[in-house]
Amino acid sequence: MVGMSKISIALVVMIFLFAGIISLTNFTNSSSVNEFLWTGAPPSNADKIEARISQLVSPYQGIEYDNITLATSEKNNKIHIHATASTSASKYMDRYDFVYSDNEIIITGYILEAIPESVRSEAISLALQNEEVASAMGSGMYTNGDPSVKQILPETSEKFYTGKPLISVTWMDSSISALIDMDTRAVVQVWTGSE
């Protein structure tokens, strides 16, 4: 009986440890930010805002932000926060818009272009292999300018495919965009500007 109790206690401890690891891992994934910089004077609750934003930002899988610059403005008793996140893994930056109100911070917009070059190249390559994209671009395929490559977050992706991070490759000057699932290497949606 005593032995069982010891085993039970050990199991409980292991469960808590495991849960703690999971919890810590989740937190670490979304808070891998090294440094926050404020343009202008930080608000009195800057620490709280930084902690929450750390949880909300979504650097591309495998990269970490070196720093996040925060700029604020106030309108209608709400603080609007624009965050610019940079990483040594990409020459592009991620940008987020947040609104802080009633002790809640929500994300209202984002442009996530901080994507490793190898992933960018792969995404462009996959987009170009899509028949509809290739067909829409026609013989001008290689004169249509460089595309933008952006990460699309699950909240947005689920409206078009499924709730997971996707990549959008867009030739704005040709009004062509491919939404790509990098896990399956598949173009899941194509937009040609007329839709």
């Binding site: 940008r95 818009d97 917009g109 984002y110 442009i111 996530l112 190249s121 462009i124 390559s125 170009l128 292999q129 028949e131 290739a134 067909s135 013989s139 001008g140 395929m141 290689y142 004169t143 249509n144 300018g145 460089d146 595309p147 933008s148 952006k150 699309i152 977050l153 909240e155 947005t156 992706s157 409206k159 078009f160 996707l166 959008s168 867009t170 704005m172 000057d173 009004s175 965009s177 939404l179 949606q189 937009w191 500007g193 839709e195």
Partner: protein, 428 residues
């Protein structure tokens, strides 16, 4: 080659006019016409005007043309409805017939049509299925031909091929995904005379076999641009050198290096192309070219001198502004260089020498696009918030004034164009 093109164009225009005249419906209340992009009906009274000696079956064919894209080995089916608008039974025997001015004629073995024949009563309609099978070994390219439902033709002199009246046009683009991805689609940069620059064109071979390349500057494009008098070339292609491997190995990435030495006396712009000469059937003739666009910019050494006169002792305010279009930021770029920050060097002098100028304000401005309908839906919903397309930089100086003659010397640094505003008295 060019003359032949012109003859072809004139012949085409003439033929279109003839066809148009022949088929133009006469404005009459008792003539029923069908004229949509999908349907053509030939009325007996129309042809009587020019071709009174021709008799032909009067059919309604819908659609009158079809474009399809297929890869080698793929197939597709098209449905065509033919209605007899004549007052007699017409025997339809659809067949492939050549059409003028096609890059390639569709091989009749690629096409099968069912039913193979049909006797059509007046006002009766029949649906034909045209199945297109592209062989595995077909060359990529554009193909065209017609499906004629009767043997009725129009007399013509502009083509060796007869013009079938009761026919639909069939266009097929045979294509394959490119085996080589050109990951640098263009090189565009602002360069300075006397400076050297290096650019890279990255190629990725996604095929399972090696592919030969032979990059070279495209002289045809060069002469085309010259013919139409573009802004004049800042330098010739011999200012650049290409170094590249001759083969891109299967599954690997290769880099084509372009080294540019801008001549000291270069002024203006250079437009051109590099033809990568990718030896692979998946790449069309024009699809392996990388555009080059260099804008030669020269940093002036001497300042721009502006003389002005003051008639009061009021303070003098000088405002200098420049704009920078962030086209590359919006579109992405092949450029390897960063644009340096703009600034101004100023000197103000009057009869007693240089006057100290006090920088009282520096302003950065911009124009930001909010995206809206120009974005794909998955970017409208989440991104597309800010895209700065135009930046401006403004410096405002002030000094105490005095009656007399003044000279303002302005040396713009890293600026292509600037505005100045000299205000004597209250500036706001």
């Amino acid at each position: 080659m060019y003359n032949n093109e012109r003859i072809r164009i004139y012949s085409l225009i003439a033929s279109m006019l003839l066809i148009g005249m022949a088929f133009s419906p006469v404005a009459s209340a008792d003539i029923e016409t069908y004229a949509t992009s999908e349907t053509i009906l030939i009325e007996g009274s129309d042809e009587a005007i020019l071709y009174s000696d021709i008799t032909f079956a009067k059919l309604n064919i819908n659609p009158t043309y079809s474009n399809i894209d297929l890869k080698p080995g793929d197939n597709n089916e098209i449905s065509v409805t033919v209605t007899n608008k004549d007052n007699k039974t017409i025997t339809l025997e659809p067949k492939m017939v050549p059409t003028a001015y096609q890059q390639n004629l569709i091989d009749e073995n690629w096409v099968s049509i069912t039913p193979s024949s049909k006797d059509l009563e007046p006002e009766e309609k029949v649906e034909f299925t045209i199945k297109v099978d592209i062989p595995e070994d077909a060359d990529i390219g554009d193909y065209g031909a017609s499906v004629a439902f009767t043997d009725d033709t129009m007399p013509q002199s502009y083509s060796v091929y007869p013009q079938y009246i009761n026919a639909m046009y069939l266009y097929i683009e045979v294509w394959t995904p490119p085996n080589i991805q050109i990951q640098t689609s263009y090189i565009r940069d602002r360069v300075e005379s006397g400076e050297e620059y290096d650019y890279e064109i990255t190629l990725k071979n996604i095929a399972d076999h090696d592919i030969e390349i032979d990059p070279e500057f495209d002289d045809d494009q060069w002469s085309f641009s010259s013919r139409y008098g573009t802004s004049g070339f800042a330098f010739e292609s011999d200012a650049m050198e290409i170094t590249a491997p001759s083969v891109v190995k299967a599954g690997e990435t290769a880099v084509v290096n372009v080294h540019l030495e801008v001549p000291e006396d270069a002024r203006g712009t250079y437009y051109g192309d590099i033809d990568l000469n990718i030896d692979d059937p998946s790449i069309d003739e024009w699809d392996d070219e990388v555009s080059l666009n260099f804008d030669v910019w020269t940093q002036p050494v001497e300042p721009y001198a502006k003389k002005f006169t003051t008639q009061t002792n009021d303070p003098i305010t000088i405002k200098l502004s420049s704009s920078v279009y962030n086209y590359d930021k919006w579109m992405g770029t092949g450029s390897e260089t960063e644009t340096e920050d703009p600034s101004f060097d100023l000197e103000l002098e009057n009869g007693s020498g240089n006057v100290e100028l006090k920088l009282i304000r520096t302003t950065y401005g911009g124009t930001v696009s909010l995206g809206a309908s120009s974005y794909p839906p998955w970017e409208i919903d989440s991104a597309g918030i800010y895209q700065e397309t135009l930046e401006s930089y403004v410096e405002t100086y002030e000094t105490s004034g005095a009656v007399g003659e003044w000279t303002l010397n302005i040396l713009p640094i890293n600026i292509e164009e600037f505005d100045y505003l000299i205000t004597i008295g209250d500036s706001e």
